[in-house]
C-alpha cells in the first residue's frame, strides 16, 4: 500500500478476477450451440409468442418452454443508444450503438452492439443483420455485432420448427469476469498499518467497555460505538491457542509442519493470529511467551518467536481464548 497524495488514507489496487463456469439447460444449450453453427433459435411460448433469446420458462406464465424454432439473422432495431467510448469487454472497441433487435420471426428483442459509422446512421426501426464472429465457441459473443442491412425486407411467415439437436452440443460457458478496484482500508486500519510499518502494534480502546481491539476496525462490535483512543500493545504476547499445520499451501514458502497460533499481545483485549517459529513445532504450548520477528523490509511481522520468559499463567489469558 502507498499513501494517497491528498490524504493520509492508504489505497492499493485490488483486482477481482474469476472465470465463472456455468452449466446450460436444454434451451440455452441449443441456442448457444446454434450460434456456433450460425443458426439463431427462439422458443415458442404456449400462447404462441417467440422469445429470442430463448429461456426455459415463460417470463409471463412460468410455463416450461421447449418448443424451439429457427428465426432469421436479420431484424429490426427497437431501441438504441450511441456509446462513444466503449470499455473493456464490450463487443466493439470503436464507438458503436447498443441496440435491442427483434429478429425476423421473433416477438422479443435481443441486446447486442451495432457497428455503424455514427449516431446519424442509426434509428429505431432500421434493418440490421448479424455479423458472425470468425471464431465461434457457443456463446452470445459468437454474434460479433449487428451491421446495417437497409435493403433486406423483413422476413415474413412463421419461423420453422427446429429440433435443437446439434453434434457436439455446448453444455456450459466460461464467463471470465474482471473488476478493478482501489481498496482503501479506512481510518482505523490505516493507522494500524502505518504503525506496523514502524514495527509498532497499535490497537484502539472502546470508550464504553474499555476493550482494546487489535487490529482495530474503527468500531467496538460489542458496544456498537466508534473506537478512537489508540493504545500501543505488545510487542510481547502470549499464545492462547494454536494448531499444527501439515498441509503445504500453494505458493507458500514455509516448510510443514508449522504452527499457527492465536497470540494475545500484552495490553490487547483480543488475540490476533500469526505463525510461530524458532521453536520445534511440537514444543509450542498455550501460555508460551512470544515476540514478533520482522524481516528486513517487511511491513508486518513475518512470524513470532519465543522470548524465553516463563509461560504466562492460564488465568492471565483465559478471557482471551
Amino acid at each position: 500500500m502507498t499513501p494517497a497524495s491528498s490524504s493520509e488514507a492508504l489505497r492499493a489496487p485490488l483486482v477481482v478476477e474469476f472465470p465463472f463456469t456455468r452449466s446450460l439447460g436444454p434451451v440455452q444449450s441449443a441456442f448457444l450451440t446454434g450460434l456456433r453453427e450460425r443458426t439463431v433459435l427462439g422458443v415458442r411460448t404456449t400462447d404462441g409468442r417467440v422469445l429470442v433469446p430463448p429461456v426455459e420458462y415463460d417470463p409471463v406464465t412460468a410455463d416450461e418452454l421447449r418448443d424451439l424454432v429457427q428465426v432469421a439473422p436479420t431484424g429490426t432495431v427497437t431501441t438504441w443508444a450511441w456509446n462513444p467510448s466503449p470499455s473493456r469487454g464490450q463487443p466493439l472497441a470503436t464507438p458503436f450503438a447498443w441496440v435491442l433487435v427483434r429478429l425476423d420471426g421473433a416477438g422479443t428483442a435481443l441486446l447486442h452492439a451495432l457497428d455503424a459509422p455514427g449516431p446519424r446512421a442509426v434509428h429505431t426501426g432500421m434493418r440490421v443483420r448479424i455479423r458472425w464472429a470468425s471464431a465461434r465457441t457457443g456463446a452470445i459473443t459468437d454474434i460479433a455485432c449487428f451491421e446495417p442491412d437497409p435493403d433486406q425486407p423483413a422476413a415474413t411467415g412463421e419461423p420453422a420448427p427446429h429440433s435443437g439437436e446439434f453434434t457436439d452440443p455446448v453444455r456450459g460457458i466460461v464467463a471470465p469476469a474482471r473488476l478493478d478496484y482501489t481498496y482503501a482500508p479506512g481510518r482505523a486500519q490505516t493507522r494500524f498499518l502505518a504503525a506496523l510499518a514502524g514495527r509498532r502494534t497499535v490497537g484502539e480502546r472502546c470508550p464504553s467497555c474499555r476493550k482494546v481491539y487489535v487490529p482495530p476496525r474503527g468500531a467496538c462490535p460489542t458496544c456498537g460505538v466508534a473506537t478512537a483512543e489508540q493504545v500501543e500493545v505488545g510487542p510481547h504476547g502470549t499464545v492462547t491457542t494454536f494448531c499444527i499445520v501439515n498441509i503445504k499451501a500453494k505458493n507458500l514458502d514455509i516448510e510443514v509442519p508449522y504452527v499457527y497460533a492465536h497470540i494475545a499481545l500484552d495490553g490487547a483485549g483480543l488475540a490476533l493470529h500469526g505463525r510461530i517459529a524458532g521453536i520445534p513445532y511440537d514444543q509450542v504450548r498455550m501460555g508460551l511467551r512470544v515476540a514478533p520477528v520482522w524481516t528486513e523490509d517487511g511491513r508486518y511481522p513475518d512470524h513470532y518467536r519465543p522470548t524465553g520468559e516463563p509461560d504466562a499463567d492460564y488465568d492471565t489469558y483465559k478471557e482471551l481464548l
Partner: protein, 353 residues
C-alpha cells in the same frame, strides 16, 4: 393488522469518494444519530436488517464488517439483504408485523468509489446473454430513454427540465452530492454521455449510508412525536430479459403501488428512486402522480444516488416529511436492477395534525 411506523431517519453526506473511511466508519455516525433520535441503544433494538453489496466493495461478506457498528455481541437478531436497504426495510416490516419484534434498525451503506460502478453493475445482469457483453448501466438506461423518446413520451429538453428541477430542489438538502443546475436549455449544450443521455440525465456516482428505525404501535408513539405509519408496502419484479419488457412502462411499479394502497386516496408527496431523468417520466405515470404532488423535494436520486442506500433514503425522506408535519400522506419508491427492473412502493401516513 399491527401498525408499524418509521420513527427515525438519518443519512450521511453523500460524497463522490470516501476513501478516508471504511464502510463501518461511514456508517457509525449515521447509526448513532438515528438511535439517539429515538433514545435507543443497539442493545435495545428488537431486529436489525441491512442492505449492501459485495460487488461494490469488491470483497466477499463485506457486510459482516459493517456489523461491528451495531454491537452484534451479545448475539442480536439480525439479517442482511444483498440489495438496497429499502428491501431490508421490507424484511424488517414483516418481522414487526409478525410481532417477533417491536423495534427494528434498518441500515444500508454503499461505496461506489472503490470500483468502476458502470462496470460493476454489469455483474447483476443475466450471466448467459447479457453479462458477457458488458453493457454498462448508463447504456442500458439510454436504451430505455430512447424508447421513451421514440414513443413520443418525452424529449431531451423535457428530460433536462427533470434534471434541473431535481438539482434545484436539492439546494435545500444538505446531504445531497449535487445541488443546483443551469437552465434546461443550457444543459442541452453538453455532449452526450451515451446518447440520448447527457451527464445531467444520469445520477451522480458516490458513497453514502442511511438508517431508519421502525417501531410498532404504542412503541412508535412513545419514540416519535408524529410517526410515519406504513399503510402499505409492496415490491414487484419484471422479467430480467430487457427485450421482453416494454421499457417505456413500469408495470411492476404500478402493481406494487396498487398493492400498497397508493391509489386509495391522494398522496401529497412522492419520493422517487429515479436515478435517470427518463425513469422519473416513467415512474410519474406508473404512479399516476399529478402536478399537485411534490415529487422528490430532496432532489431524489438525481442529487445523490449512493448504491444500496438511495432507495432506503427515499423511504426515510418521505417519513421525515411526515415527522416534520410537511406531509400527511406520502409515497416512497425504490428501484433495483437495470431499467427499473425491481420496484418497491410504500405508502406512509401521519396522524391528523
Amino acid at each position: 393488522m399491527r401498525e408499524v411506523a418509521i420513527v427515525a431517519f438519518a443519512q450521511s453526506d453523500h460524497r463522490p469518494d470516501t476513501a478516508d473511511v471504511s464502510e463501518v466508519e461511514l456508517l457509525l455516525p449515521v447509526l448513532r444519530r438515528v438511535l439517539d433520535d429515538v433514545g435507543l441503544t443497539t442493545g435495545g433494538i428488537g431486529f436489525t436488517c441491512s442492505g449492501s453489496s459485495d460487488y461494490l466493495a469488491g470483497r466477499a461478506f463485506s457486510f459482516t464488517m459493517a456489523l461491528d457498528g451495531v454491537g452484534a455481541w451479545p448475539p442480536i437478531s439480525e439479517s442482511h439483504v444483498e440489495m438496497d436497504g429499502a428491501w431490508a426495510l421490507y424484511e424488517a416490516w414483516t418481522k414487526l408485523l409478525t410481532e417477533e419484534a417491536d423495534t427494528a434498525l434498518v441500515y444500508s451503506c454503499g461505496k461506489s468509489s472503490p470500483g468502476n460502478l458502470r462496470e460493476v453493475l454489469t455483474r447483476q445482469l443475466d450471466p448467459y446473454y447479457l453479462a458477457p457483453l458488458w453493457p454498462d448501466s448508463v447504456s442500458l438506461a439510454a436504451l430505455q430513454a430512447q424508447a421513451l423518446i421514440d414513443a413520443g413520451e418525452t424529449d431531451e429538453h423535457a428530460l433536462a427540465g427533470v434534471a434541473a428541477r431535481a438539482r434545484t430542489a436539492a439546494e435545500d438538502n444538505p446531504h445531497a452530492q449535487l445541488a443546483g443546475s443551469a437552465e434546461p436549455a443550457r444543459l442541452l449544450d453538453a455532449p452526450y454521455l451515451v446518447r440520448p443521455l447527457r451527464r445531467h440525465d444520469c445520477p451522480p456516482i458516490g458513497d453514502g449510508a442511511a438508517a431508519v428505525v421502525l417501531a410498532a404501535g404504542d412503541t412508535a408513539r412513545r419514540l416519535c412525536r408524529r410517526p410515519a405509519w406504513i399503510r402499505g408496502l409492496d415490491h414487484r419484479v419484471e422479467p430480467h430479459a430487457l427485450g421482453v419488457r416494454d421499457l417505456t412502462r413500469s408495470p411492476s411499479t404500478r402493481l406494487a403501488a396498487e398493492r400498497a394502497g397508493a391509489f386509495d386516496s391522494p398522496v401529497d408527496t412522492a419520493e422517487l428512486h429515479a436515478p435517470f431523468t427518463s425513469q422519473e417520466v416513467i415512474l410519474r405515470r406508473a404512479l399516476r402522480l399529478g402536478e399537485d404532488v411534490r415529487v422528490s423535494p430532496s432532489g431524489g436520486a438525481q442529487a445523490a444516488n449512493p448504491m444500496m442506500a438511495a432507495g432506503l433514503i427515499r423511504l426515510g425522506e418521505a417519513a421525515a416529511a411526515i415527522h416534520r408535519g410537511g406531509s400527511d400522506r406520502a409515497l416512497a419508491h425504490a428501484t433495483s436492477g437495470p431499467c427499473l427492473q425491481q420496484n418497491l412502493v410504500a405508502v406512509l401516513e401521519g396522524d391528523p395534525q
